[in-house]
Symmetry: C2
Subunit: 317 residues, 2 copies
């Protein structure tokens, strides 16, 4: 089997990989997602990252069997388009991402949903191997979900997996999506940062923002949250606890509905808090599980940062 | 195709039907579920109801192609057993319901989950015809859920569909299951009655209990709730509104996860409040739907009271 490419398109970074026939990563590159230039500029940066990954693997992009893309927003693989890619700059209207990349790279391009391809990758190659049903929970800027049932991705009418917008507290906290009480309103890193800023402005002591400045960041990254917790920062500890409780509640609710064999925890926050974080989430699920004598296995994603891009490469058949 | 039997085993009543080759009901009987005599006594009453339905249809029970049973609790069709049937008297341990009925009726017996067979019936014969994915929501004493995906029942590891125990309010109201904030804690008729009794004892004015006594009931049935609301009873209206809000929130959360084509609302309360109730639930879902521009169809169950028993008959192949 030929080498193929995979690109994970995120709101802050573009991760590209080239994998061999066994889906082992033989080249990779990471670029920041450009804030200017709109979808065309993003597509250019994606092609650049893939070219760099191909160079690292010692292959020409044009010689790849194809390139898969995991994208946020509404993805239409048949049409090659992505629209309403929320966290990306000026990407509301439909943009022909597939054709743009195919022309730039000289190979065919397949598009998929970012969270679903990461879930597929964990299922086929990572922590989800051997399970026929599982839920992928990607805890990062938001909280995304991917579903595997009977060994296959469940996409619904194309919009399934919005686990972050399951309501865990009716009339609860405001979510970045505009609704109230969503799991993401408590557990999404963006919502957590907004909450921390507000508390800080109102005089709550926290080192979160001084750590952020020290590391020359503009956002509270997963690493900053982790460092603040390690330093015993009260606000950081409180907001992480609040996030874990919301995740436990929402993921348990999903399990009460679907009774899957396993839950795979990934995403920037999930990976950063690692096994201890997964154990805390599993413990937070327990009181809400209807079938509490037979909880699902809860596992840390095994493919790490490269899971999304590797899953995208799986789109190329 | 020969006639077959179906029995819906509920906490308060046993509904039996005999259906023809097109699953049209040609005989039916309803008995109260006996409170004494344990599982064996219940099995005897079930056999009695089925015999009566068969007599009404003019057939011998032994001539039926088989009898299907929709049961609460943990159902093991291969073993013919039911255990932990919560709302039934002294039915914690495993009881060989299949063999007991087969002997009493002289035909083979198939067992299934009560909510799932009612969902299957709506999918194949009722309001769910033509959909390939749907959620059955049975709003009664509790709130049960059945799932159809890709045209087939989704059972998970056998425990799927506990939509009533999806959490809609973390740290919220106490649920009859012992947990907190479940949808059923607000929308289950048992929880609603407990809440109404407490309010009434604490001096809240309500006609709910006088209507109950007038109709010589011991419980607040769906009909009593409906009559009280029609009379403008404030507490009844408030608790129904609270139930509808919880249903809207929990069912929308399930749709955000699964993105099914349709939601079918059944159960004693669902049927009693009918089309206007379904419209209220759909409206209550709307603010919580992530994909609010493309909500699922929300429909009233079409098979009414006989859906469970008819669905049980579908178990006989």
């Amino acid at each position: 089997m030929e080498a193929r490419g995979g690109i994970d398109l995120g709101g802050t970074k573009i991760q590209a990989v080239v994998v061999d026939g066994d889906y082992g990563v033989v080249g990779e590159a990471r670029h920041p997602t450009p804030r200017d230039g709109g979808p065309a500029g993003v597509a250019e940066a994606m092609a650049g990252a893939l070219r760099e990954a191909a160079a690292a693997a010692g292959v020409e992009p044009g010689s790849l069997a194809g390139v898969g893309v995991g994208s946020p927003g509404n993805v239409d693989d048949a049409a090659g388009t992505v629209s309403r890619a929320r966290n990306l700059p000026d990407w509301e209207a439909s943009f022909e991402l597939g054709p743009a990349l195919a022309e730039a790279l000289g190979t065919r391009v397949r598009l998929g949903n970012d969270v679903q391809v990461a879930t597929d990758a964990e299922h086929r190659l990572g922590a989800g191997r051997g399970y026929t049903s599982l839920l992928g929970v990607f805890w990062g800027t938001g909280v995304g979900g991917g579903i595997i049932l009977d060994g296959e991705a469940w996409l619904g009418r194309s919009g399934a997996g919005e686990i972050g917008h399951m309501v865990v507290k009716r009339d609860g906290a405001r979510c970045p999506c505009g609704r109230r009480g969503c799991m993401e309103a408590y557990a999404g890193r963006a919502a957590m940062e907004a909450h921390a800023r507000k508390e800080h402005e109102h005089g709550t002591k926290t080192d979160l923002f001084s750590i952020m400045r020290k590391h020359e960041r503009e956002r509270l990254t997963s690493g900053i949250w982790s460092r603040a917790v390690e330093k015993g920062d009260h606000l950081a500890k409180h907001l992480i606890e609040r996030a874990v409780e919301a995740l436990g509640c929402g993921v348990a609710s999903a399990c009460n509905l679907l009774d899957v064999e396993a839950v795979i925890i990934g995403g920037g926050m999930g990976l950063r808090f690692g096994e201890p974080g997964v154990e805390r989430i599993a413990a937070a699920m327990q009181p809400h599980l209807f079938n509490d004598a037979n909880p699902p296995d809860v596992r840390l994603a095994a493919l790490g940062d490269l899971g999304g891009a590797t899953g995208a490469a799986l789109l190329v058949d």
